[in-house]
Amino acid sequence: MSTSTDPTATTGAAGALEAVKVYGEGDTEVRALDGVSVSFDRGRFTAIMGPSGSGKSTLMHCLAGLDRLSSGRVFIGDTFLDELNDARLTELRRDKVGFVFQAFNLIPTLSAAENITLPMDLAGRKPDQGWMDQIIGIVGLADRLSHRPSELSGGQQQRVAVARALASRPEIVFADEPTGNLDSRSGQEVLGFMRYAVSDLGQTIVMVTHDPNAAAYADRVVFLADGRIVDQMDQPNAERIIDSMKRLGS
């Protein structure tokens, strides 16, 4: 438990310490994460950026308890994920983590409302009706609740996904290219909700993206390349991000 002395472990909503993820062996070995230490502050919106193969998705998957590290540690709140078995990890995802994926976020057989309350239903908990109404109002879905995903547009589907991620008041929400499949207008709406959830509701969000315009909604951007953190930027805007990416690319 020597790493618990690291100050990041106590202040962040989630983070990684010397995280290493290796795929393959010998000649085919790939180090997707090569000693990443990072902490995500509570109540902030962080974007993780980097070129393809930089390890940004792997980092997010490990942080969210979807994948395990080869070495190093990841934590959410005061829980170290690498100490949990599958059942406990599942409970942690259900109760402490919200997810927004790039596509295929919703269960096709359930209505929008059922999709939103899914994690709580799985836990056998009653959703807080006031909070539910508030979230549904924010994402503007009040009149779509009984619809199935196939009856919603791509933008509406992502808004349902954001609502689901927020509904159980998780410690942290992970978003993996949440606007990757959307037109720019719908994408801006979804990013707007996420921004609002952080600023006005105090939610913590970590988003993986390769779109500088999307990253510009964040409070902080972390740049990854070849499995390492190579740069950070607070209060970013699109131009600075593009500049930074150009530097990294050259």
Partner: protein, 883 residues
Amino acid sequence: MFRIALKDLFARKRRLVTTGIAVVLGIAFLTGTQLLSVTLSDSIKSLVGDVYSGFDSVVRSPRTQETPFGQPIRTLVPDSLVDEVAGVDGVRAAAGVVESPGPQVVGDDGKVLGGGFGPPTLVYNWIDDDALRIGVLRDGRAPGADTEVVIDFRTAETLGKQLGDQVDIATTQDGVRAYTLVGISGLGDDGSQSTGARPLLFTTAEAQRLVNQPDQFNYVVAGATDGETQDQLAGRLSQALPEWQVLTGAAFTAESQEQISQFVGILEIFVSVFGWVALFVAIFIIYNTFSIIITQRTRETALLRAVGATRRQVVVATLVEAVVVGLIAAVLGLLAGLALAALLLVLLSGFFTIASTTPGLTPGVVLLAVGIGVGVTVLSAVIPAIRSSKIPPVAAIGEVSLDRSGISTSRKVWGALLIIGGIALIGTGLAQVGPNPLFQVGGGAVAILISVAVILGPLLAAPVSRVLSAPFAAGGRVAGRLAGENAARSPKRTAATAAALTIGVTLVTLIAVVASSIKASADDAINQSVRADFVVATASLTSFGAIPPGSAEAIRDTPGVAEVSPVRFTLLRLLDPVGVAEASSTPTTTVPAGQLGAPPDAPVGQDDFALGIDPATWFDVVDAGELQGSPADLVAGTMAVDRKYASDRGWRLGDRIPVYFVATGVQQIEVAVIYDQPLGQAGIWLPLSTFEPNTLPLFNVDNQIFVTTEPGADTAQVQRDLDARFADLPTVQVQDLQEYVESQTGPINVFLGIVYGLLGLAIVIALIGIANTLSLSVLERTRELGLLRAVGMTQRQLKRTIRIEAGIIAIFGTLMGLVIGILFAIALTVAIAADNPGVLQFRLPVVQLLVIVVVAAGAGVVAALLPARRAARMDVLEAVSST
């Protein structure tokens, strides 16, 4: 294109296995029974050939009565015929043969050996001539006195008896009597073989006495002098004895072998029906599997089309896949069939000698297996293959979506046609309108069962699934809710999966309902029409004729007994116009080569059962309803007839009906009484004054004795007294009315047990189908399941979801089968009742049907175990990140 199809196939071996299992099981059953029956009938034929190998000629009566049990009953020949035969030129030796059932061997436990449906116990007389005697003496000597017996080695082993020991034999003459074991016999050159039957060899006089045929033989056999052929000898004998039937030894053997082949053939047909049912079920499963696979391969197929594959090539690729699956399954099925046959042969060899326990593989069986395996698989894959060819190339870049299309118009039309056609076929079949009623009913049933998969199932699947899932989803439990929606999302798939189960359950339900109706009707009929308090009856079918003569008189002397009325039983042939017309429509037997002399004596007519009754007491022990005519009119040469039976044949009181008796030939029997309420199967009751002179000694024994007690008598004491009277005869039972009902309906239970066991196979195949569909569905829903796991569904919850889905499909299929089975049973009972009022009344076996539902649902959950485990073990990350 071939290479692509094959590569794809072998890249997914598991799919190949699950698709093929249904075919493997069906083929195994079909070929297994074929192989078994071929080997079995070869074995028995060679044994029979061996048994009669010493006979050069057989001389017997031309007068026979056909029976429903296989061998016809033949009148006896007198003692004197032996000398007549012996006096003919070319005859080296002649002997009369006694070959009759009757006495039974009693074990140390006081019970009859081999009661029930086993091979018979037969009495033979000892013949000194080695060639003319049946069997070889292995040990000891011939019976020299009336108290000595020779038994076969298997019976001796079973009893644990040695030479010199006493063997108890139940006889009608003396009760159980001890005979001294003086010899042990067997079949074959060295006496080491056995047909399973139990021959008891006595002195000729004792044998004749025990089977009630004094101074008479069943037939006379002759051995030829050196240089005389069988044909020459038979020719000489038929000239010398024109009034008798003469057969060469070869013809006699061939006739016996033919009868055995027929029996084995019937068994084979009976068992292979279940193989066909299994294959019918398999068709649904294969169709379903291919449909799902093709949906899942949409992108791949579209890509092939985009790079230039023609529609034809796409169809061919799928069919090649089907041929390969079919071939592999056929070969595996054949191997399983061989194993099955070998296993059964080893089991059977414990009962009688089997030449080889290795089933002989014939080219015919191989062709059957391959033909049916490939045929069924390709047939099942044709529609999915054609559908796959309609995938447009542009689908290569779209999302792969589930087949959630509604029910097309053509499907509705076909479904409606199937239902209407099926009902019409069953209706006409049951009403006996049309060329082949049996095939009409069968075809109609198949049409309706297919309609379950085509139209009824898909229409009902979604609403029924949601209703069934409601209890599991109560209180907002997601697993139940998701399971219901998953079963409902693709109604055609759910319906096709459930339909496989529906078939098996339909058949089980139909049989259960019909059996319970038959039992209930028999129960009612006996309770309504039998007034007797006790029935003295033989313990089993094989102890026919075991009630000793004089028993009725003895019972009458028992204190508290009021009336005693014995019943006998026989076969006769009706020569009235209805009977002649009925018989003319069935093929007549031809005289086989090697049979000479007098032609068969029996005129064309319809065979039926009749009871022999004592008119003075019979109408006191049974309630025959209203009578036309009086029991006093039942004198010699008359009969009583059931009202319905008489009106069907146009018989009226006073009519004289020509009837053929095997013992006395054609007699004119007058209808003297018409009664209202039948008892069991026999519509004709002959007073003993008609019965006795006209039937063979075999039948001239009391088969049952009905007993009533005096008012106020202590019935329990009467039963104890009666039991005591028959205590030394294990072949005879004193039954109260309830026991009598059970003994009359008992054989139905044995039959039911066998049928349920065999139909279980169809249900097992259906469950494999459910497992298969679920596995493929799980694969198809990888992303979705990954998402569920990502947002917090535990492995347990996921397994539960899949188990509930399986349970819903299984219950859905079972309920459809239950409803259809009950409807079929109603149709059948209505049709039978319309023809024979009061014979069959509809009765639902509620408890049994509930058990069927619970077992099927439980089995569905078991079928889900593997797919559920696979789904739960799925790597979440791989699932959510796969595209």
